[in-house]
Symmetry: C2
Amino acid sequence: MHFQISDQLIQKIQYLIETKDDEELLLHLEDIHHADIAEIITELSLDEATYLVKLLDSEKTSEALMELEEGVRERILDKLSAREIADELVEMDTDDAADIMNELSPELQKQVISEIQDEQHAEDIVELLRYPEDSAGGLMAKELVRVKENWSVTGCMTEMRAQAENVTRVHSIYVVDHKNHLKGRLSLKDLLTASSDANIRDIYIPNVDYVNVHTEGEEVARIMQKYDLEAIPVIDEMRRLVGRITIDDIVDFIKEEAERDYQMAAGISEGVEADDNIFKQTRARLPWLLIGMFGGLGAAGIISGFQDTMSVFPKLLLFVPLIQATAGNVGVQSSAIVVQGLANGSLKGNIIAKRLVKEVSLALVNGLCIALIVFGISHFGFGTSFRESISVGIALIAVILLAAMIGTIIPIILDKNKIDPAVATGPFITTSNDVFGILTYFLIAKAILGF
Amino acid sequence: MHFQISDQLIQKIQYLIETKDDEELLLHLEDIHHADIAEIITELSLDEATYLVKLLDSEKTSEALMELEEGVRERILDKLSAREIADELVEMDTDDAADIMNELSPELQKQVISEIQDEQHAEDIVELLRYPEDSAGGLMAKELVRVKENWSVTGCMTEMRAQAENVTRVHSIYVVDHKNHLKGRLSLKDLLTASSDANIRDIYIPNVDYVNVHTEGEEVARIMQKYDLEAIPVIDEMRRLVGRITIDDIVDFIKEEAERDYQMAAGISEGVEADDNIFKQTRARLPWLLIGMFGGLGAAGIISGFQDTMSVFPKLLLFVPLIQATAGNVGVQSSAIVVQGLANGSLKGNIIAKRLVKEVSLALVNGLCIALIVFGISHFGFGTSFRESISVGIALIAVILLAAMIGTIIPIILDKNKIDPAVATGPFITTSNDVFGILTYFLIAKAILGF
């Protein structure tokens, strides 16, 4: 039963758009879920996509628009009039509408708002635009079910019926006093199982989690995950209930966070999307490559500082790439584990010292294995002298130990100084390990070979 | 109002445990959320933690146990009798209970099951244990609200009241026929707004998303996210409704997936946890280090193959670390973007060719910047001759182009061959880029310097 997009379907739709066979087109798309409509739109040309958006019911396209990638959506919105955008926004929940508005120019925002007939909806959207996108205020929706503490269960059911019409999904019912101060919540289950002559005051749960409009999105995600919440109410500075955040918005948020961390580890900043332009991509990537470049030049400086050694033991140079690769890999492994531990909160307090001891022991085990293999291959394979091979092996162990320590400690230091430790993974840790690794290698070789 | 764990609180609790002041202890922990109890338990010694788990109401500890990290939970369960474990499981939803059972030995599983008084609950748990942990069957819970299509709205409300008692959270009401075949669903909102003499048959939504017990977890996560579902029903081979999966379990799943991908990119396989033992950690990490090691030895082979060049232009060797670092960094950047695009489905069909063109253009821009800087520094800083510096610069551009292409193509090829492209990031891509990069460097230098 799951929808599967196919080339035939796309071709059929393109043909129907070309021949302007609106009736057939509507028939074809009638039963398709808005998330699938979004998939179809992505496969069409901009003109075809715009044609479809204008043709279909805005109830359907408004949801499809939300599913599109930002770049695709922006190009389609560019082709719509303020009036047409307003029609889409009216069908959306306020949080989605505010997200779309954030993508428009200030002038267009004003025009669109003036085209929205439903004044309350327009006011709600304008209110949400006041908050930073990543704050609880920017994430929340205004739609929610709100009951007063002095109502009866029966009265509450009647009132809820009316309110539920405007809310896509009822998660929790929030209980407020006459000043709209948040008092607690009521689960639908409690309401269903309560006797009908009970009073809301007697059955609501006063101990409710909430966040403030200014709470950061990351903190909202942490609280909702920790306490397994599907929705959380948002209050303003006066403790008044002003909105709620639902878990589906937080799922998107968590995914975006994970993608950003992943990119950061790969040396890409700014949360670039694959379809961003070359200028933006360069800005996100080049700085990290320059860090690597300066590291490489530093390594060149170190090698040229050991020129005497080079002329006596030229074979030592063969193993520079090996030393560098191993130092980089070990450092990235250690830092990734630490960064994850810091991110999910499992790494704190007295565990940090234990962690360092463990990483170092682990490095020792791995280092011994690798050093033994390399010793064998360099001595018997590359004909390196026994003493040279021994120094390569010992240097490898030292380099691995050092890399593990740097990889463990740097993220912890950054975290303590309130810098996102994710920046420490990827090129940053690789580069510092490259440089320290090569320096250690030559120092140890020099000490052992005694020149 | 948010709970903040503190050293004083921990010390107080440790003191109360030591003096066995159960009454005071219960009073202190009464109002603390189970997720916070879990945080407290993590800070205690094993004996203290066990004392607390045995003392507190199993309604509270069962939920706290689920929040603990697997390693901590295992150690505590080890200290409990089969009877005590059974008491915890009775309080849990079946999916959580099955997860715990999966962590026990087969003999202990049998003992625990025989200690569970509620036969239906025991049967449900045993049923869930039959499915692989990462399948829909392994993720689902048996608790759900189920109504028959021929019931009236009033009858349905009465029946639901009874069923809701056993369900922690009511997401959706599922509609089945007399053979328990899934027919559709009913939102609580629809039920609330329906007239009480209506029939379920007239108001339910027949078009319901569902998954099969054998559907893989990853696919369940994809469907639930794509269609913004908070719960999805699970059917068996006979189309009978057997369970449901809720979004909170999927959030955990998505996070675990993201962590695995992140670790893979850092060269750690198997989804290791920070507190796994050294043997397991070595098994997850050493293979990747060995890949890097063999790459390094390959590079050593290449360098020794160009020994003639080395003796005439020894300064070329200074820039080997730079070439290697740059090739690695560029490759990881390109592959990370491609792997993410493949994972979130934005990269497919005709976009792939466009992507390659873009990555190459981007590489050209970055390559030109870096080559210019390196040319300047090597010529004026390291006193490398003009022709040598030119060959380093040109080689750098070539290496960056090659690395971008390898980084883009390898994940796509793996994906086409149904291999998780995430393995292509990290050490794998770095190592191949190291080797190809160094080879390209020497070949270009040789061609330009003409020896």
